[in-house]
Assembly symmetry: C2
Homo-oligomer: 254 residues x 2
Amino acid sequence: MTVQLGFIKSDPTTVPAQMTCEICPGLELNICQAASQAEWAVSDAALIPVQQSDHFALARRIVCREEDLHDSVPVICGGWAASIATLSDSSRQILSFLLPGDIVPTTLLSEPRERYLVEAITDVRYRIFKRSELKAAVFKQMDLLEKFLKAWAEEKSRSDQLIVDLGRRTADERIARLILNLAERLAKRGMAGGEPVELDFPLRQRHVADATGLTPVHVSKVLSEFRRSGLIRISERSLTILDLKGFRRIANMR
Amino acid sequence: MTVQLGFIKSDPTTVPAQMTCEICPGLELNICQAASQAEWAVSDAALIPVQQSDHFALARRIVCREEDLHDSVPVICGGWAASIATLSDSSRQILSFLLPGDIVPTTLLSEPRERYLVEAITDVRYRIFKRSELKAAVFKQMDLLEKFLKAWAEEKSRSDQLIVDLGRRTADERIARLILNLAERLAKRGMAGGEPVELDFPLRQRHVADATGLTPVHVSKVLSEFRRSGLIRISERSLTILDLKGFRRIANMR
DNA sequence: CGCTTCATTGATCAATCTCAACTCGCGTGG
DNA sequence: CCACGCGAGTTGAGATTGATCAATGAAGCG
């Protein structure tokens, strides 16, 4: 079995919890750290114990289902995952990709019209917080709350973005934008960059299709066309944007 | 000029602020009331003054732009509005319809990739809160914060829903679902119901098109087909769902 | 009245899907 | 060690959905 842990190569079971958390990409919202600090901050008064437990999911396996999210809040520590809505005919729509440091869709505790679930794309290491405890901690710590609000705003902004893409953009545009967005998010985590830009790209074309509302077949054609015109190169689960300017033009046109 | 104020027929200028707020449809999140109560609750201590000012926008006019939302939080009191993203080729995507009691997209204070704005569909009466004050009030009042969180969760849930619709559903399904969703939201406010279900429907076909990622022309064809097969009836800015069961079938299939 | 916006309808076009065949790499079990 | 099956990707042909273009009519408004 190939282990694709994104940027973290170490065996998660050998690393103590606090350690892994500290390697966690420095994100605006680094919950693990934030929560530990919260615990730390009040540990003298022994007020808010924020428990967290480590977990692991193999690629292509389900990390959690909607019902699991009622009392637990998972956070991705390593690897890629996706939150997915599945329709009754088994077609799927990816709502968002979850990268290391991302908190699993925060608000998934509403009435479920469709089936939501979180699926591991690569092998994934994650950590589960108790919702009630996390909430309590957040409410007591103003700055933690602020962080959450900011993360929320960003999450919402991305989903608005996706709505526009799905509603008003062509296949080429959607795919190019998806790649650029991922590159940007990865860059923030120090997991992409360079000249030309290069990034881990563990997605199957099926994932791209599910995220862009297209068909795997069509995704293949579009990506081939991108490759043929020298915009990108894909190999070994890694993607290079050869012509960033041209690629941006395709993504933003209109 | 016809005034279509949804369910509120009174001239807003003649009604004192507190009055209008009390007529406001009883919603999970009734900010006007909640905020006034917050003010009330601490008025003895004179701690959190939550100011609010009344405003009015004619149909088809802009209620506010993205940059306005940095320090102010508008709440719809009467009428319908829409929050819209516009692309550079002037095509538009409606992110959500705003009905009385709705708070204008809460998190629109992030980096703007597209141009967002809020546009009045009917004449709209709304109220503006100072963001900083509202925030302070919310942070001090646990239950207010809870209300906000719930409202956000719902907002997020709806936008996830929309993502699935735009990504994976046909024109027929999208349009039927839009109508059913609106009916449901209106029913919660006591603004729709009956047997057969009837609701105010001030939307132009252009709005439906902008919300579903379709063309006005195609919307017209689909709606005509719906009418022809006896599913719905539209007249006088009012819509009746004649065959709720059949309509639901069209909306949910797959 | 004459303008403008909105809706309807038909004809044609284009983007994307569907179906199908084929390849490649990989893991498994005989 | 090899045959096999499976999942992923590629490619082409044809079908479908919805877009585009264009003409027309109806309604609201100054």
